[in-house]
């Protein structure tokens, strides 16, 4: 398992990173519309990466939208009542959401599989309901406007903000992959009992991963609130913020940073492109694409490419199945 993941990545990441950097700077010269699309792609990309970081431990979260929305509200509330400057609301939201996740995680991280998934989903709903009903603080169902948005909405500056945030998230994800935490988390996913008996403190590692990934989702939610200048319960906690990043990760390939990245770029750009040709009904085609890709590329795009790579190098590994157990 780990031999597949470790060996081929020596030179390749650098080529890939250089390419990604090139792609990332392309919208800067291409104008406001590509910048808007790219911002949206980066938003979903970061959510996808953070989700993937947790699934590397085997813990399936359905709560992305919850932490995303909570981050947006943290930013709006921080900016409105505490006067936190726009860009710092991202950090503020990350910390608030990270702490909330730490407290919740301390209780719910003993759950596994579907039970953990459902609890994260239910928590997301609970965050939404609380924001919805706590009218005096949050504006209730109507939501609230941010006093002022980051860089006054300047397209290039906000894109750069998202790019920096995405770079940080990718950096954290890569650090996750190459640090002790990665081996601990992978060990948990592969065989929790063995991991525990080998002296891995499962609970502490899971808690760290949960807090960090939730914090990322909170920061992304805050950036979204900054981009559009408002939060409402219905849009900020929209279940699409859970489902779309999940789909992107699975299409791109799980258990790595680049799968979510590729998935987000592809689905994000294809989704936007499709509707120019099929204004009425493009979502149908989008759904068909998701179905077809899953059917014909079960390991995601990065998985497919990696598979080709492995085969061309004739690296045969006994345990070819890298999927979830």
């Amino acid at each position: 398992m780990s031999s597949i993941e470790q060996r081929p990545r020596r030179r390749a990441p650098w080529v890939f990173a250089a390419l990604a950097a090139l792609l990332a700077f392309l919208p800067l010269v291409a104008g406001p519309y590509p910048q808007t699309i790219a911002r949206s792609v980066l938003t979903y990309m970061m959510l996808a990466i953070s989700w993937d970081m947790l699934i590397r431990s085997g813990q399936l979260s359905f709560g992305i939208a919850g932490f995303f929305g909570l981050g947006g509200y943290a930013a709006a509330i921080g900016a409105t009542y505490l006067g936190v400057p726009p860009v710092l609301t991202l950090v503020f939201a990350a910390v608030v959401v990270g702490v909330v996740a730490l407290l919740i995680g301390a209780v719910v991280l003993r759950l596994r599989g579907m039970y953990f998934a459902i609890v994260t989903l239910a928590l997301a709903e609970i965050f939404r309901i609380v924001m919805h009903n706590w009218s005096s603080l949050t504006g209730g169902p109507n939501g609230m406007l941010l006093p002022r948005s980051a860089f006054d909405g300047n397209s290039v500056a906000t894109y750069l903000m998202m790019l920096v945030l995405a770079a940080v998230v990718i950096g954290v994800s890569e650090w996750f992959r190459h640090s002790r935490i990665h081996f601990a988390l992978t060990a948990i996913r592969d065989n929790e009992t063995v991991a525990a008996s080998a002296g891995v403190n499962i609970y502490a590692y899971l808690l760290t991963a949960f807090a960090i990934t939730s914090g990322i989702q909170g920061a992304v939610g805050a950036s979204y609130a900054q981009l559009f200048g408002f939060v409402t319960p219905e849009s900020s906690f929209n279940v699409n913020y859970t489902l779309i990043p999940l789909a992107m990760t699975l299409l791109g390939g799980m258990y790595g940073t680049w799968g979510p990245v590729v998935g987000a770029v592809l689905l994000g750009v294809v989704g936007e492109y499709l509707k120019l040709f099929i204004p009425y009904g493009h979502l149908l085609v989008y759904g068909v694409i998701i179905v077809l890709v899953i059917l014909f590329m079960p390991r995601g795009i990065v998985g497919l490419v990696r598979g080709h790579l492995e085969r061309s190098r004739r690296t045969t590994t006994a345990s070819e199945k890298g999927g979830a157990a």
Binding site: I55, L60, V107, V108, R110, L111, R112, G113, M114, Y115, A117, I118, V119, L121, A122, L123, E125, I126, I129, V130, H132, N133, V239, L243, L246, A247, L250, L251, M254, Y280, G281, L283, L284, Y286, G287, V288, I289, I290, V291, I294, L295, P298, R299, G323, A324
Partner: protein, 308 residues
Amino acid sequence: MTGFKRLQVALSVAAGIAVVALFLWRPTAVVYGLQRAGLYASIALPMALVLGIVHIVNLAHGEMMMVAAYLSYAAARALGIDPLLALVPTTIVMFIVGIVLYRLTISRTVDGPELNQLILTFGIAMVLGQAVNMIATSQPRKISLDYVSASATVGDVSFGVYDFVFVALAAASLAGLYLFLKKTRLGQAATAVGQNPRGARIVGIDVQRTYTIVFAISAALLGIVGTFFMTKFSIFPTVGGSYTMRSFSLVAMAGIGNLPMIVVSSVILGVSEAAIQAVPHGGGWSPLVFFGLIILAIMIRSFRGGRA
């Protein structure tokens, strides 16, 4: 396991006491709570079946019910008949839809990472919803039916009684599934596959065929539920989505593979929701009760060591 059983009994007793107390305070809340429980359980049972035996979370669950509802609606409209007369044809069509969906798509993902099935069914849900949206538009549809307003009057309190069909439906589904799983060869094989697919294969059970049939039965049940659903509620392309999440929550609350507990969980949730709505201005908090209880149930079970 005994601790787990004891917990179930304790939960059921507590629920019973709460229901009686509520009945004394506000009788109609109990009536509506039980009706709601019937609706929840009848939609969740087919999902529990699939999750328990085929081990997939079918995110297209609600959309399949939606499609069934539209089928019955279209039949009723086109032929000018009562939609309940479309019950049998819709159920048969949904059974076939179940077979086709399973064979054509889901069966092809069993070799990949299991999360792929999640995203596959998410894609199917999207396709179903969007296809119906293109054909029928987003405008809600509802046939006005006199019997839906059937009511009973006790003392000076009138209440609707039609929704008891959902209670009957849930009871019939549970009984039918129970008989199927325990008494028929196919059902016993399905139970075996659900518990240990590899073992079942070794003793000569055709696992894929079993999965197909179980999935198709679930789809057929959704055909029945969808038909009753459209007599009572407006239907529109996104109507099913929230029931997928609700059913999934119920199954998790009940414990995967535990069909009777689905009914108990539904009663707890349905009656609690009706109770909170009976409190003035409590309506806004009823989803909180729903999700709060689910978390509570799952956490209690995990602390009792009944983790799956």
